[in-house]
């Protein structure tokens, strides 16, 4: 199991029954494959559908049905399609229970930056600003460092996606929960010491009591 799958599986443990969930492009998409059996989760894709499913059978793809990353998907029974205004009304209006997004940086408040590196990489925010501002729970799923450089930092050096802090940060090394006093280390990956997490994290981490190992 590579680190991306581990992150996805840990995030999937945050899924709750009978909820509406939006998965960002990239790593977060993997979460859809890890839904615990018996759990009824509706996935929304911001390009306009609730209830999309796995990749369709070869040769049966519908060019009018993709996820927000442009990949072909299928539709489950009970799926509903809508336009972009309705899609973001759902996101902004408090109807989305959870979103999972990738991250470039997270600061000590849990604030996310994930849409541009000035002068270098400018993908644009797409739906990320609405998702972080609107979803009831915001999970950041990302690698703990970028080629060894910590992505969890005291202050953002990249443009923020939203002033609203994330609910939870899940990396291959740790689970961290932003709280009113700072970032709280909740779990560490199996075999990874608290010190190792701290060394890979530029922001302070609050550690209280035993820190259990992540389960996937």
């Amino acid at each position: 199991m590579d680190f991306r799958d581990r992150i996805a599986r840990r995030v999937a443990r945050e899924l709750q029954d009978n909820t509406l969930v939006n998965l960002g492009i990239g790593l977060p998409t993997l979460v859809a494959r890890c839904v615990p059996p018996g759990l009824r989760v509706y996935f929304q894709s911001e390009n306009g559908i609730i209830g999309f499913g796995a990749r369709p059978p070869e040769g049966m793809e519908d060019i009018h049905l993709t996820d927000a990353g442009g990949a072909f998907v299928s539709a489950l029974p009970g799926a509903a399609a809508f336009d972009s205004a309705m899609s973001f009304a759902l996101i902004r209006g408090g109807h989305l229970d959870m979103t999972v997004l990738g991250g470039l940086q997270v600061d000590r408040h849990g604030r996310l930056a994930n849409w541009m590196i000035p002068g270098q990489l400018i993908p644009g925010m797409g739906g990320a600003m609405d998702l972080v501002g609107g979803a009831r729970r915001v999970i950041v799923a990302m690698t703990h460092t970028q080629k060894g450089t910590p992505k969890i930092v005291p202050d953002l050096t990249l443009p923020a996606t939203s002033l609203r802090p994330a609910t939870l940060i899940v990396t291959e090394m740790a689970v961290i929960e932003p709280g009113p006093d700072g970032l709280i280390l909740r779990e560490r990956a199996p075999g990874v010491s608290i010190d190792a997490v701290r060394r890979a994290t530029a922001a302070d981490l609050l550690v209280a009591g035993d820190i259990p190992e992540m389960e996937f």
Partner: protein, 226 residues
């Protein structure tokens, strides 16, 4: 739970639905002159003797019809509506001070409800500028033109009527019975749908669904066969 993992909504009797509307609630009710109004729930509300409602709706229909029954029953203390001209009881109660009526231009009312369900703070409309509707409201200038800031509306409970629901709560409306129903289905803490028929999941195609089932908390049971 069906094998495909679709969440099935609770089906409620109209009476059980009426229990979910507390006295003093702010209640959105779909319909236009009684067309597209959830009548079984209204009858149940009247039967249970609900009081002190703030009703947000297009109109108060006519005495004995739709929302008019709640007016006649004295269940409504405040009404936020676009029109009361077809219900002399509402007009009388308003002039007598028994019901506080706030009249809102219909298009503004629709957008205010939509804004409430869409996470928007309000609406920027020119409708009502220079009239009594604008009194006390903020005006914003955009591109040299003035627009009123009309605040978003939300409710404790929304009661909506639909032609069809599936087990997952997806709704389809019929013709002019659609009106405010899909807007209100987004704008309340609890949303209860009263369909004319209930069909299995998959019968309503994704492209014809007007209200996604995730917005619906409860579905009132099918009407009894005649």
């Amino acid at each position: 739970m069906p094998a495909d993992g679709v969440t099935v909504r609770n089906s409620l009797t109209p009476r059980a639905a009426a229990e979910l509307v507390p006295d003093g609630a702010t209640l959105m009710i779909g319909g236009f002159m009684g067309v597209g109004t959830p009548n079984r729930m209204i009858d149940a509300l009247v039967a249970r003797g609900v009081r002190d409602l703030t009703v947000i709706a297009n109109d108060t229909a006519r005495p004995g019809v739709g929302i008019g029954k709640l007016i006649s029953a004295g269940a409504v203390s405040r009404a936020i509506v676009s029109h009361i001209g077809t219900n002399p009881e509402t007009q009388r109660a308003m002039l007598a001070g028994a019901i506080e009526v706030t009249l809102v231009p219909q298009g503004t009312l629709a957008e205010r409800v939509r804004a409430g369900g869409s996470g928007l703070g309000g609406v920027l409309t020119a409708t009502g500028l220079g009239t009594v509707v604008a009194e006390g409201k903020t005006v914003v200038k955009i591109g040299g033109r003035e627009f009123l800031v009309e605040e978003a509306l939300r409710a404790t409970v929304a009661l909506v009527a639909a032609r069809s629901a599936d087990y997952a709560g997806n709704l389809v409306y019929s013709l002019t019975a659609r009106n405010f129903n899909p807007l209100m289905a987004m704008a309340a803490d609890t949303v209860i749908a009263e369909p004319n028929e209930i069909v299995p999941v998959g019968v309503l195609a994704p492209d014809v669904i007007h209200t996604p089932g995730v917005l619906i908390d409860h579905v009132v049971e099918r009407p009894l066969p005649l």
